[in-house]
Structures are given as C-alpha cells and as structure tokens.
C-alpha cells in the first residue's frame, strides 16, 4: 500500500514536470467534408491568435503550439480526435464545431480533465453537468427566442412557416422559434421538415405557396436555404427567410443570388463591430482573411485560454477551470464570463440581414 502511494507520488511529480517546452492547445472541427469552410474559419482565427499571443511572449513564459483535429462532423471520428488530442497532452481545446461532435468528444475531454471552449449552440452541450465545457457562443434556445420574437413583432398578421432540416442543430432551433411564436400568439401556419442534402424542394415550395406563407423560419444550414429561395423564385413565390447563425456563410449569397437579400438571421453581435477588436479585424484583413463567421470566435477562444492561464498562473485543469468559471476576460467578441453551466453571459443574439453580398444588423 505504501509502495503504491510512493509510486503514485513519483508519478505525480513526473507528470508535474513539463514534458513539452510549449503549451499545446488544439482546435477541432470539420476541416474536410461538407462543412469544411467552417473548419477553415476556425483554423485561420486560431492561427492568428496564437501568432499574436506568441509574439507577446506566450503564456507563463512559454509559447503556445497549435494542434488541428479533423472530425469531418462525424461523431465517431470526433471521439478518435478527442482521444488523439488527450494523448498529445493538450491543455486546452477549442471545438468541436458540430454539436453532434462536441457532445461525445466533450466526455473524453472531461474524463481527461481538459477545459474546452466551443461554439456549438445545442443546449445539450452544457446541459449535461460537465464542468470542463465553456460555450463562447449563444444557445439555440436563446437564438430561437430572439428570432421568434422578432418575427412575431415584425410580420404581424402574416403567415409564418417553421421548417427544419432534421439535423440536431436545425430542429432545435426551429422548435425554439416555433415556441417563441406560439408564446406571442402567432401560431406557425406550417411546421415542416426537409431532408438536407437533396436538391429538390419543390414540394415544400408548393406547400408554402398553397398555404399562403410569406415568411419561413428555417432551422438548418445555408445550402438548403439557397435552394429553397431559388425554387420559390422559380415558382413565383416571394419568400422571406429567417435563419440562424449558419446563414453567415457567404456561400449563401453565391448560391441564392439576389434572392439572398430576403434572408434574415440571428447571430451574436458582430465582433467586427466591436471597437475593441478593430486592430484584430485589420490584422485579419491585411492577411487577406475576412474575419467573418467563426474566425473571431476562434481568436477569442485563444484569448480566453491565454488570459485564464495568466490569471491562474498554471495550465493545470483544476486551476484553469476555476479561473475560467470565476474570471472575466477581455476578448475580441466582448467581455466573456461564464455561469455555472458554462454558458457565457454576453448579450445573446442580434437580427441581421443580407444586403448586396454583405450582412449587417437589420434596419429597424
């Protein structure tokens, strides 16, 4: 027994001695596959942040090094990536991107005691009582409430349909929008689901047309919205779409053409408008990276890590976790602080609109 204790003690000592000269941090997300553009944004944001932090001398006198994991938004691969990352002894994870990857992977990080900051919006991400997870993005239920309330107020008396693409993200968002509409007495005229990845949504369009729907709240990704808009136009239906944060993707504009001006969506306050972030935005643009979508969030996640580490004076899980939960951090997306579940306390969502290939807060 005593021998065991001794061994354990030695083990502890050994593990306390830093093996790596650098602090390893990681990002994980869909670097390949259908949603590769989101992974690309995360990577670009994280790379610049780490360059900036290292230029200022790193954290605790050591440089940060980035590991990149590709889960292709496949839950099975996400667990593999998580195990690989744990094995590389990372001290912080920013990811994953798809909620269905974040959820199984977070179990692994939790077990290995690695703190993580994610942009996944599914409520389940922080509802499972894991202590290591911090969400730097809003939740689908907040998002849905903002979108639903806006629709109910702005399009009073018009027929509103709520549609989703049967993904975890899309259905969650659509359900929350429908709930918010109900609460305001604007019962959705239609509640439908489609299958993502198809090309033909003429059935849905006909149904919307025959029900006299003018506004469609959509939970899902931008690709389908572009197709629905095109097909609605072809069928002579003028449709306004309200979507979620995935609508920030410029592919929507390329694919839907001018009809994209009819797209409203909810997204966290645009970090590019944050005066404190002006320097960083400029830096990105100088590097020919438009700091759209998740770029600034990845930057902020790395800032969160650097500042929490400095506050805790340690990269050990217990210290970091405590620092993150209790502290407050100045990042490019605003002042971050977290509640007991790990959700952030930033003001949630704004309503945006696409106009001529750029998005901005909707004109009141």
């Amino acid at each position: 027994m005593r021998k065991n204790m001794l061994l354990a003690g030695i083990g502890l000592l050994v593990s306390a001695v830093p093996v790596y000269a650098d602090h390893l941090v990681a990002i994980a997300g869909p670097m390949t596959g259908q949603y590769a553009s989101a992974g690309d944004q995360i990577r670009k944001g994280a790379e610049l942040a780490i360059a900036d932090i290292n230029a200022k001398g790193g954290v605790l006198g050591q440089k940060i090094k980035l590991e990149v994991g590709d889960d292709a938004c496949d839950p099975k691969q996400a667990v593999s990536v998580a195990n690989a990352m744990v094995n590389k002894k990372i001290v912080f994870m920013h990811g994953h991107w798809c909620s269905s990857s974040t959820i199984p992977a977070s179990d692994v990080y939790n077990e290995a005691q690695i703190p993580m900051a994610t942009v996944s919006t599914n409520p389940q991400v922080t509802e499972r009582g894991l202590k290591n997870i911090f969400r730097i993005m809003g939740r689908d239920d907040q998002q849905g409430a903002v979108a639903g309330n806006y629709l109910a107020d702005t399009f009073k008396g018009k027929k509103i349909a709520v549609v989703d693409d049967k993904s975890a993200y899309g259905k969650g968002l659509a359900d929350e929008i429908a709930k918010a509409l109900q609460a305001k007495g604007a019962k959705p005229a239609l509640r439908e689901s489609i299958t993502a990845g198809e090309k033909d949504y003429s059935g849905l369009v006909s149904k919307l047309k025959s029900a006299g729907v003018e506004v469609m709240a959509y939970g899902g990704y931008h690709t389908e919205v572009a197709l629905i808009l095109r097909q609605a136009q072809q069928a002579g239906l003028k449709l306004t779409v309200m979507g979620g944060d995935t609508m920030t993707n410029t592919e929507l504009v390329t694919a839907a053409g001018p009809a994209s001006d009819n797209v409203l969506f909810t997204f966290s306050p645009d970090p590019r408008k944050n005066p404190a972030a002006a320097d960083v935005v400029k830096k990105f643009r100088d590097a020919k990276v438009e700091p759209e979508g998740y770029v600034m969030y990845a930057y902020a996640a790395m800032q969160l890590f650097a500042q929490a580490t400095e506050q805790a004076k340690s990269v050990k899980y217990a210290d970091l976790e405590k620092a993150m939960r209790s502290g407050s951090f100045d990042t490019v997306i605003g002042k971050l602080s977290f509640d007991a579940k790990g959700d952030n306390k930033l003001p949630g969502f704004m309503v945006y609109q696409w106009k001529g290939g750029k998005y901005d807060y909707v004109a009141k």
Binding site: Q34, K199, D200, G203, S210, L227, R230
Partner: protein
C-alpha cells in the same frame, strides 16, 4: 360559415396544388429516369451494380457549371447556343469518364466474383467524390439562372400553377433522348450487339463481336445519359455540390430496380414513379417520411412482382 368557405377554398386550391406537384414530380422523375437507365444498362450487360454511376452524373454537373461560366465569360448570351454547347461538352467529357471508370476499375475484375466489382465501384464512388471535392472545392457551385420564366397554367384562389421553361426543357429533352435511345438500341448494329451481350456474352464473343468494346460503349452511353441529366439539373436547380451524386444515385438505383432492372422503359417508368411519389408525398403527407415511402413502395412492389414492374418475370431455371 367560416369553415364551409374554407372548405370550398381548399378544394379549388387542392386541384391546383395537385397539378403543380404533378409537374414537379414528372420533372424530378425524368431526371431520375435518365440516371436510372445508366444503372439498368450496365446491370443488363455485366450484371453489376455500378455504384459510381451517380458520381458520374455529379461530375457532369460540375463540367456543366464550368462550361456555363466559361461561356458567360466569353460573352455568349444566346440561351439555345449556350445550352447546346454545354450539353455537347458535358456529354463528351463525361463519356470519357464513363469509359475510364469501366476500364480501370471494372474490367480487370471481369470474370471474378460477383462482389469484387461492387466493392471496386464503391471505392470508385468515394474516389470521384473526393477528387471533385479536391479539384473543384467543397463549396456549393451556383450558376446564375439560365432558363428563366415560364407559363402560368391555371390559377385558383391565389395559387397559380406554374410551369417553368426549365421544367419544360427537361421533359422535352428527356422525351427526345428516349426516342433517340430506343432507336439506337432497337435498330442499330451497336444496339443488336448490346442486346446480344446481355443475353449471352460468351456466345456473342464466339460470333466475332468485340464484347469488351460493346461493354465500353454501354458505359459511355450510360454516362451520356447521366451527363444530360447533370446539365439539366444544373440548369433547373442552379446549384451543384460534390454530394449530389450519392443522393441521386440511390434514388435512381431504386428507380431502376422498381422498374425491373435490365429493362430500359422500366427504368424510366421507375424514375417517373419515384419522382411522383416524392412530389405528392412531400406536398400532402409528411415530407420527413418521404424516403420511407419510396423504399416501402419498392419493397411492396418487389414482394408481389419480384422482378420489378416491367422486368421479365424470371422462371427459375432448373
């Protein structure tokens, strides 16, 4: 009072909706049918499921996007001219793909087990998808609308039945292609060789017909039809991505089996049926279970007609 009015209002609209979905379903079905013929021909001649066929169609859609964009940048604005050029280019390059796929992945496996070419085909499908993703990018590729406008056929209580010119184009091209195709299979010497190979490849070879060449031509012909489908879809939906081949491939394969695999009119019929089932199911019942409906119909048909709707009923050869 209100209710009664509503009912009347609904019935006129119901008709209009049904008509609209009939148009939409036939358009979709024609595309499925064109792809399904490729499956059925290949199955007929070498008895394998060419899983990469859907991806050939996807490749053709990408070729169409490049060609349309190229023509637009060259300043060619005449729609018929642009369409014809793109069709020709797409057919040309896609048929080379059809030929190359057979030559590299299937021919070395001729005469081996039944499953080896199937796995090779799955590998080829993965390869083509990722090849396109790498060379053309993972982003969706849109083109501006080529064929715009259409007729308003019938209006009822605020619902107008709309037939877009692009839909008309799909139906006309499909019908013309089917006519040309029946001629090729029925009347030309290639058609006779093709049918002979289907019946008995060994005997055909003994009669001095080049079976390899016939099989190659069959793949090219299948690819041609897929290429036309790819161009039409690009025109109709305006958006393509590297994943469309898989979805359309599964549907078209189902159509081929539903119609009776090996039968070309059957493939077209199966395609139209699936297109209609999808269109009506999506409009009247829950679109979530659309695919369940498609597959359930397939399973039911196979239970009662084990060789598909127009397949030759097979007497067990003992």
């Amino acid at each position: 009072m209100n209710v009664v009015k509503n009912k009347k209002w609904e019935s006129g609209k119901c008709m209009a909706l049904a008509l609209q979905q009939l148009i939409n379903g036939l358009t979709l079905g024609a595309v499925y049918g064109l792809i399904a013929i490729g499956y059925t021909m290949v199955y007929g001649i070498i008895g394998m499921i060419n899983f990469a066929h859907g991806d050939i169609y996807m490749v053709s859609a990408f070729i169409a996007v490049s060609a349309f964009t190229l023509l637009a940048s060259l300043g060619i604005t005449s729609v018929p001219l642009a369409l014809l050029t793109v069709l020709l280019l797409s057919v040309l390059f896609t048929s080379v793909y059809g030929w190359a796929v057979e030559r590299t992945a299937y021919r070395p496996l001729r005469g081996s087990t039944r499953l080896a070419p199937l796995i090779s085909a799955i590998g080829m499908s993965i390869f083509l998808q990722n090849m396109v993703q790498l060379t053309q990018g993972a982003r969706v590729k849109p083109i501006p609308p080529v064929v715009v406008g259409g007729f308003d056929l019938y209006a009822s209580e605020g619902f107008t039945v709309h037939l877009a010119y692009s839909q008309l184009l799909i139906v006309i091209v499909t019908v013309a292609l089917m006519a040309a195709f029946s001629y090729v299979i029925g009347k030309t010497s290639f058609g006779r060789q093709q049918r002979a190979c289907e019946q008995d490849p060994t005997m055909t070879a003994l009669l001095g017909i080049n079976v390899d060449r016939t099989i190659s031509l069959t793949f090219m012909l299948g690819a041609t039809l897929a290429a036309v489908a790819g161009v039409l879809v690009t025109v109709y939906y305006g958006v393509v991505d590297f994943y469309i081949g898989f979805v359309a491939g599964i549907k078209a394969f189902t159509a081929a089996v539903l119609g009776g695999i090996g039968s070309m009119p059957g493939a077209m019929l199966g395609g139209l049926l699936i297109g209609l089932v999808e269109a009506f199911w999506a409009a009247y019942l829950s679109p979530e279970y659309k695919d369940v409906a498609t597959f359930s119909i397939l399973i039911l048909v196979l239970m009662f007609r084990p060789s598909g709707l127009l397949g030759r009923p097979e007497v067990e050869k003992v």
